[in-house]
Amino acid sequence: MATYTKGPVAARRILALMLLAGTAGTAQAQDVSIGVIGPMTGPAANTGTAHREGMELAVKEWNEGAGDYVSDEPPQVELVVEDSNSKPEVAIGAAQRLMTRSDVDMIIGDTLHSHVTLALMEMAPQYGVPILSAEPVSSAIADKVLSDPERYALYYKGNYNSDGYGKAVHGFYSWAFENDVVPEGDKTIAFVVEDTDYGIANAEKIGELFEADGWTVAATETTPTGTTDFYPQLSKLRGLDPDILVSVFTLANSGISFVRQLDEQALEASHMAIFYPTRPEFMEQAPDIADGMFWAALQFSPEITPEHQAFNDRIEAEFGVSANYSHAHAYCTMVVALRAIDAAGGTDADAIASEIGGTDYDCLVGKYAFGEDNTVQSGPDFIPVPVAQVQGDASQIIWPENVATAEPQ
């Protein structure tokens, strides 16, 4: 007998442990509890940590009386952070844990990944909990909402769609051709993007807009996240000789290597970089090789925006790190959530959701307002997606003209 009962006994013990873990409730000292799901471990943990810091700052200010309140009696808020490890199934486990163990009233997540959000948004109708995603941009999320608005009534997307960049890049170049900032050439465009929904969606959108103007997409090269050797791709592109080259990476290092190798290879194309110059490390290491480069979108710049500098100081005082765009975006997302809960005057899911939908609030990166697809809107009146140029050792906004801080060089 003793030979085989071992396993079942072990199994039973695990079960008992899990039951314990499952029922050990958290004491509720706060009025409202918000769960956050983001990549706290794994390759994207840096960004996940920035998100956590931004949100913690927002909640801290809120609880200490320094928030931008809607009502006279704002609720005290408790924050519970869970890890998604950049994986959908892990995020779903985290959501279930937040619902059953921490009994949260609202979930913010995923803070970074579109593919995780696509899975996570299913939890909103399932558990009747409002879910607001933070940085994900993929238009697929908005499409999913539009495909069944009733089902996803509790879900909101806290960042604009991936076509935000597309429109900005296309709009900038149309302006640049007209004003002879960039020559039009024989109308070919090429992409080197990282192999994520982020990179690919941007390449597709920009490609579509240019093709409508009679341009040809010469090549779309997707490289694994973290790639830093672009020689094979650049050699190939030199042969294709495009007029515009668009690169999209999320990691600063990919961007630095790309820009440096582009310089070595001396391609003649006009280079437009997307997202990665936002990273502080990029500007630390790249200025001399990146001089004159165009990039989108300069949304967080303590150097030229006093309000951003003030936010940076608060983050630095709290966590000892300098703030980046992810801090700012997460902070704003959390403030949007806090104000919605405050306005709803309770924890009723439908009330919170409808307050999120009615948001009209100016935060660090622009004005937050949601469209019919439950998605934050982009554009000059909402969250602007400006194009910047590296000039000397700083970046200046050169487009749109109404917000430009410098002329293109």
């Binding site: 840096n46 090549a219 090269e221 020689y231 094979p232």
Partner: protein
Amino acid sequence: MTAPLFLEMAINGLISGSIYALVGSGIALVYGTTRVLNFAHGELLMIAGYLVLFFAVTLGWNVLLASVVTLALVGSIGAAIQRITIAPLLAREDWAFRVIAATIGLSIFLQSGAQIVWGEQFRTLPYFFDGVVSLGGLRMPVQRLSILVIALLLMGLCALVLYRTSLGRIVRATAQDAEAALAVGIPAGLVHTSVFAISAVLAGAGAILLSPILTVNPWMGVSFLLKGFAVVILGGLGSFGGAVAAGFLLGLIEAASVMVLPTEWRDVVAFTFLIAVIWVRPNGLFAGREA
């Protein structure tokens, strides 16, 4: 395609091929002498990358000094891994699989350990050499060319050690007949440990050469390990020379693939080539020329 572009493609292929050859020949050397497949071999690259970053960037040492110290340390780490995790398993039954399982565990352990110690910051070393060689339409930075040259020199040096020194002689003897080597008094343990050290140094050299153009991160070893394994199988298991040749071949195939297809198909082409070769020539392309 113009001639300079074609040449550039070939050089790109040879450059990545030289790293595959460095990694693969180390794996081949270890397998040839000890019949051990070390799945933590990629992590030696990663550790070397972080060490050289630490010495050259954090402490600001001269790159050459930093590299030499790094190689010495990585060699000792390789030897320690062999002593602590692999040698004790060799005497046990079913050891071949257990070594695989243990080294896979070790690889995860080292990756997450590196992530905890150094964070997941993706970092790069400054260039060792400045300047770009420009010949006709061909442009190639000195830094990249130096990878090829230094890798070739290192593998030449390694071959010299293998074929011209008494250490090399006892390593080859153990590879060719372990029991006979034991019978003439060659201590197998010493040979196994030194082979691990040599292969760790080769991997470490690869990491140092790459660190200015690739990011140093906790997972950097994974893709090189797979490529290294592919190279070892293509070259004929355990053959040092075969692995070197197969490394360059694989690099060229990849470079050609990028020229013709979008980048994301590169590894599919590389691994399909491996499986196709195994169908036709199970013993690899350069079989029968072991260490």
